[in-house]
């Protein structure tokens, strides 16, 4: 869990999002729809974006989970975080953690994604505030920043 081992005894039916939020106190990941449509709950499971409202907590046993709380390291923001702030890629901030995690996964696999590739990667997640344009700009900004130097 964000680089540390965490143990919790949970009901078999407990969803990963509720484990994170209600049991481990990690409220940065949000819950939005129950049906895997909105992506407010996206976290990285073994490095891949998953919708944690449709993953059982038990399924994460023995796996690596990374959440928004782990993006900033040693007081340094991830370029994706910086990009979202600089490009006004967020308004209410509710979808932002999930968007940033998917964006960071995308940049790990495609360091210089086109706007169309960014839109495709984020198409399983909903933002009700930005109309997506500034999110695309934020990811482009982060790509440029990552490309410009060491993280």
């Amino acid at each position: 869990m964000n680089g540390a081992e965490r143990t919790a005894e949970v009901e078999p039916r407990l969803l990963l999002i509720h484990l994170l939020r209600d049991h481990l106190g990690l409220t940065g990941s949000h819950w939005g729809c129950d049906t895997s449509n909105c992506g407010a709950c996206v976290v990285l499971l073994d490095g891949k974006p998953v919708k944690s409202c449709t993953v059982l907590a038990a399924m994460a046993d023995g796996h690596r989970v990374r959440t928004v709380e782990d993006l900033e390291r040693d007081g340094r923001l991830d370029p994706v975080q910086e990009g979202f702030a600089r490009c006004h890629g967020l308004q209410c901030g509710f979808c932002t953690p999930g968007m940033m995690l998917t964006a960071s996964w995308l940049l790990d696999h495609d360091p210089d994604p086109s706007p169309a590739a960014i839109r495709e990667a984020l198409s399983g997640q909903v933002c009700r505030c930005t109309g997506y344009e500034n999110i695309v700009r934020a990811v482009r900004w982060a790509a440029a920043r990552r490309g410009a130097g060491p993280r």
Binding site: E11, R21, H30, C33, L77, Q91, G93, F94, N134
Partner: protein, 796 residues
């Protein structure tokens, strides 16, 4: 890409931005926002609501024994239990009543029937399944057009003497003058259209945590509200608790868009649950509950007519409307205006006469009405007039942009009294449309369209010119439940020269903490980093009606500016004492009070603030300290406007619509924070695409909601939304202290008409004249085939 300023430039540049960008972002990008469901209190319990599976039924019995026996359950509350305490019904913001928990009947699918309080959220849901309710089904009214039939079942038989489903009749304009104008017209175009029921669907659903302290008698309610003060007053009215013992806290809000204006039964259930168990109780909706029970928007059945001369001079417009308000009139709008500002239906045009008549009806659907970035029904009015103008253009064989250009109000006509009595403050409409046409390359687009049509391709160009009416006021004409629409602001400058502004409105993503800091900073010569904004807490902020109807900058922003100017005037007296000159000898320049003719002799706010708190002998009229309050009562509405052009491509085989380009020229007066303004426009354009093409709350003939999840209620994603092309003009409002007008809803208001006009333009070669939203592939395909989908319950 943003266009250059087309008006008095530099107004925004005079207000410096915070050094680190938007103040709100630092917490959100780190996952450190504090939303309602992030809050946990010691000993907190969890509530869940049992909802009606039927749209209309009498309740024969509610048996909660098995639920109460569940080992994790602390309490089960029914309507009858609330009724014993006088809490079973609550007032709505439209002065109707709404059931908190049903006692006699259920009136829509999803209505609140019982409330379980348990030790965790899963157990609360488990216990819902242990409650047994016996219903006696009644015939539902699911089509608003059948609601006034003589044999229609009476939905609101809770109201003594009620014999039908009529909520209100309301009209505006001059009927006789309108009829005369229509009689004299060469051309009259008529169109029936349905603006479908949609839902704001903020990503965060609604919820509350109630903490009723049995010892102090204080009630603290954290809730997802856009209007904390208005809610507190309502809770005092409903519960009988003294208002000063109630504290409403609105934490970070994950989007509102109007959905979080009303008081919902769940909030009252959480309060009742906390009072009963003497512990804090959290209640949060799931997505289906949000879509099926909280306030919807639109659902207007409209018949519009437009009259013109043969040369294309528009003479008059009229409309008759049937408004579906659902089972309770849960709309929120100024009480004199049951149809909001629908009478702005004359739009951006110079008309001789206009008339509109609106009838509101009850149906067995979720309650609500006004919500979803609509500026109090301006959305419906703009859609009506902009569709009618397009249909008129087609009738006349005229280009829709040119027809608009020749009928737009001219700049010299402002302030302009519309045919329905609204007083437009300022505008230069032709300039906005010219700019939009220029950015779009309108002539080239038409040439491209002609080429594509020859190849059988369906390309559409849709134009929409909109005029909004926002910033509701003055209070003597505008109130909600008797509360005048005015907002307070308190500003305190601390001894070391930093400042705290408290405002009554509540941000839900609009960036008030940044914009309002900029307003104060610019007035006082401070850095916005030295101004913090307190909001969303009734114990810490002055009274005001909240954030909706694009009123934050228009009303609270004005209050902040007025308070800052009062502080500045008080600072002038202190500075005069410090400099031992007459206050009249000082002038405010470059962020300081300066001696006229000797500008180096100056005192900045930080120095003045320390002096005002010090032992300095202060002049008469200054008691010490440096603070001020203001209550802003708007002299009138403000009228943002704009011109939009939407380019679409329609697949003739599948009916799928692709929005290729969206050009938006907005004029919201002076822009305080241009990036935030553009972000709001981006959002509204996405709303316009969603509402026009996919978002609709549908019902079947039995009143079952068919759009109760995001699998059925479709929202636009990153692949449906184009990269917007923005331009702007700046025409300041003459009566707003900052010249600002409001921007929060402009694009949601203006965009749907542009999208639909574009699709209808694409389908014109096939003879399609009109099809109702949402223009899903199925709807477009059926329109192409000559059998458009009609509004009304599916399968009815």
């Amino acid at each position: 890409m943003s266009g250059a300023a087309g008006g008095p430039a530099g107004a925004a540049a005079e207000r410096p931005l915070p050094a680190a960008g938007r103040k709100e972002d630092a917490r959100f990008i780190r996952g450190r926002g504090r939303f309602l469901d992030d809050i946990t209190l010691p000993g907190m319990l969890h509530g869940a609501i049992l909802r009606s599976p039927l749209a209309h039924a009498r309740i024969a019995s509610v048996d909660t024994a098995a639920a109460r026996a569940h080992p994790m359950v602390e309490a089960v509350i029914t309507g009858d239990m609330l009724a014993e305490r006088g809490l079973a019904w609550m007032p709505t913001l439209s002065a109707d009543t709404q059931a908190v928990l049903a006692t006699d009947k259920v009136r829509f699918q999803g209505q609140e029937v019982a409330f379980v309080v348990a030790r965790d959220r899963y157990a609360a849901r488990d216990a819902l399944e242990l409650i047994s309710v016996e219903y006696e089904p009644l015939p539902p009214v699911t089509d608003a057009r059948r609601a006034l039939d003589p044999d229609a079942p009476v939905i609101r038989d809770d109201q003594p003497g009620r014999a039908d489903n009529r909520v209100f009749d309301w009209s505006a304009g001059d009927l006789a003058a309108t009829e005369a104008a229509f009689a004299a017209a060469d051309v009259v175009v008529t169109q029936e259209m349905h603006y479908p029921r949609s839902h704001p669907a903020p990503l965060e659903t609604c919820g509350a945590i109630a903490d009723a302290d049995p010892v102090t008698g204080r009630l603290t309610l954290w809730s997802t509200t856009q209007a904390p003060h208005a809610h507190r007053t309502l809770y005092a009215m409903i519960t009988g608790l003294p208002e000063h013992k109630i504290r409403v806290i609105s934490p970070d809000i994950g989007g509102g868009f109007g959905n979080k204006v009303p008081v919902y039964p769940g909030y009252l259930c959480a309060i009742a649950g906390s009072m009963l168990t003497r512990r804090p109780v959290k209640w949060t909706e799931d997505r289906s509950e949000n879509l099926m029970s909280t306030t919807f928007a639109r659902d207007y059945h409209m018949r519009g007519q437009i009259a013109a001369d043969a040369d294309g001079t528009i003479l008059a417009v009229r409309a008759s409307v049937l408004a579906d308000h659902g089972a309770f009139n849960g709309a929120a709008q100024p009480s004199k205006y049951p149809a909001g500002f629908f009478h702005v239906l004359t739009g951006s045009y110079d008309l001789r006469a206009a008339y509109c008549q609106v009838t509101g009806v009850y149906t067995n659907k979720a309650p609500g009405g006004v919500a979803y970035s609509c500026s109090f029904r301006v959305t419906e009015a703009v859609y009506l007039i902009e569709r009618l103008v397009d249909l008129l253009a087609r009738e006349l064989g005229a280009d829709p942009a040119e027809l608009r250009m020749r009928n737009l109000l001219r700049p010299e006509q402002f302030p302009y009294r519309s045919a329905t009595g609204l007083r437009y403050d300022s505008g230069d409409y032709p300039r906005a449309l010219r700019k939009a046409m220029q950015i779009a390359g309108y002539a080239e687009l038409r040439a491209e369209q002609a080429r594509r049509r020859e190849r059988g391709e369906l390309m559409g160009i849709g134009v929409s010119c909109f005029t909004e009416a926002v910033g509701a006021g003055p209070r003597k004409h505008m109130d909600i439940l008797g509360l005048g629409i005015a907002d307070g602001a308190d500003l305190r400058v601390h001894p070391t020269g930093t400042a705290t502004l408290s405002v009554s409105c509540q941000t839900q993503g609009q960036g008030h903490e940044t914009t309002f800091a900029q307003i104060v900073a610019a007035e006082l010569g401070l850095s916005p980093d030295d101004v913090d904004v307190v909001h969303g807490d009734t114990d810490r902020t002055p009274f005001g009606l909240g954030t909706y109807g694009s009123r934050s900058t228009a009303v609270s922003g004005a209050a902040a500016a007025v308070a800052a100017r009062r502080v500045r005037e008080r600072a002038r007296l202190v500075a005069a004492a410090m400099l031992e000159v007459d206050p009249e000898d000082l002038e405010w320049a470059d962020g300081a009070w300066r001696v006229r003719g000797d500008p180096e002799q100056a005192r900045r706010i930080a120095e003045i603030a320390m002096a005002a708190h010090s032992g300095l002998e202060l002049p008469d009229g200054v008691e010490g300290h440096l603070d001020a309050s203001a209550v802003y009562d708007p002299p009138d509405l403000t009228f943002p406007f704009g011109a939009y052009i939407c380019v679409t491509d329609v697949d003739p085989g599948t009916g799928e619509v692709r929005v290729r380009r969206f050009v938006a020229v907005d004029d919201c007066g002076v822009r305080i924070n241009p990036a935030i303004v553009e972000g709001q426009i981006h959002r509204g354009l996405a709303d316009g695409i969603g509402i026009a093409l996919m978002q609709a709350i549908a019902f079947d003939a039995d009143g079952n909601c068919l759009s109760g999840s995001f699998m059925d209620y479709l929202l636009p994603t990153s692949v449906e939304c184009p990269s917007p092309e923005l331009g702007m003009t700046v025409t300041p409002s003459p009566h707003h202290p900052l010249g600002a007008k409001g921007i929060g809803e402009s694009a949601t208001v203006g965009a749907p008409a542009a999208v639909v006009n574009s699709v209808m333009d694409a389908l014109a070669p096939l003879g399609v004249r009109h099809a109702d939203m949402p223009l899903t592939p199925a709807a477009v395909w059926r329109a192409i085939k000559g059998c458009p989908i009609r509004p009304g319950p599916i399968g009815g």
